[in-house]
């Protein structure tokens, strides 16, 4: 059985999916994130609140998620955060 993902890994995975698709619909992101709907909602709310992603309304009021500059910065610096946490046993 695979190990439960850490919180930071879940955030990285969600942001990576959004970056790869440039913009993604909520249902597709939910499937790709491999989370329960409630957990997904919590993470998405957190990511929006932190300014890592934004929700955009397209044609016909279709919702899509986009990565912000801050979200992109997080992905760039993820390796450093992970390295710090592991090297200091946090």
């Amino acid at each position: 059985m695979s190990k439960k993902r850490e919180r930071l890994e879940v955030i990285r995975d969600i942001l990576k999916v959004i970056r790869q698709s440039r913009s993604i619909k909520p249902t597709r992101l939910l499937f790709a994130s491999n989370l329960s709907p409630q957990m997904f909602k919590d993470y998405i709310n957190e990511l929006i609140a932190k300014g890592f992603i934004k929700l955009e309304l397209g044609e016909n009021d279709k919702k899509t998620f986009l990565l912000t500059k801050k979200g992109n910065d997080f992905l760039e610096q993820y390796r450093m955060i992970e390295d710090f946490v592991e090297n200091f046993g946090l």
Partner: protein
């Protein structure tokens, strides 16, 4: 004049320089880790940052406010209480940064890492230690609390080092914890058996300096400026 004689003659200035170096190290660590915490909201980083924030304030209180050269009228009893509070609290934050996952879920999002139900227990313990030391006019309770904290820290960091062989700083972390453990043991020995022997005190200062420089080395090596 030998080095030891020089150190004794310029004791007050050297103490101030020693404290300012450590405060500067703490400021750098707090700023760098705060940047990482703001990005990640990782509670372990948050508690680690708090530990060095408290160490920084503790050193300012003890060696800057407590310096007779700068503030000759500041009552030493007040300084003693304040610096004990900050030092002991810093030690508790450091051990909690290593153990927080056992007590909190990684999803826990406290509004404040200084005032929450878990940290409240530390405040109660710290107040108890400070009151006991004040009543007996001693530092023994603080020394023994920190000896226990750093014995645990050494054990945890050794086990982390053994578990994750590929992480180079874990070895230095363990070394830093051992140095701090010995520094607190020496503090207790100096107070109880040697009436604050100056040679022992100089060794404690050196151990403390190496402890903080090791952390600065680790933090600066990993957290690069963006």
């Amino acid at each position: 004049m030998d080095l030891y004689g020089f150190a004794l003659e310029n004791k007050e200035i050297l103490k101030l320089v020693y404290a300012l170096i450590i405060v500067l190290v703490c400021v750098v660590i707090v700023f760098k880790t705060n940047k990482l915490f703001r990005l990640s909201s990782h509670n372990g980083i948050r508690y680690f940052r708090n530990a060095f924030f408290f160490y920084g304030i503790g050193f300012v209180v003890r060696y800057v406010l407590g310096s007779k050269m700068i503030f000759p009228i500041f009552p030493f009893s007040v300084i003693g209480v304040l610096f004990e509070f900050f030092f002991v609290m810093a030690g508790f934050f450091l051990i909690y940064s290593l153990m927080w996952k056992k007590f909190e879920s990684p999803e826990t999002d406290y509004t404040s890492s200084l005032f929450n139900s878990k940290i409240f227990i530390f405040y109660v313990l710290v107040l108890l230690i400070v009151v006991l030391d004040s009543l007996w006019s001693t530092n023994t309770f603080m020394f023994f609390s920190q000896i226990i904290v750093f014995a645990f820290n050494s054990f945890i960091s050794y086990s982390n080092h053994k578990k994750r062989k590929g992480k180079p700083f874990l070895r230095f972390y363990f070394l830093a914890m051992l140095l701090a453990f010995f520094a607190w043991v020496l503090n207790a020995v100096a107070e109880i058996y040697f009436n604050w022997n100056q040679a022992i005190i100089i060794n404690i200062y050196i151990l403390n300096l190496v402890f903080f420089l090791l952390f600065l080395f680790g933090v600066s090596k990993i957290i690069k400026p963006s």
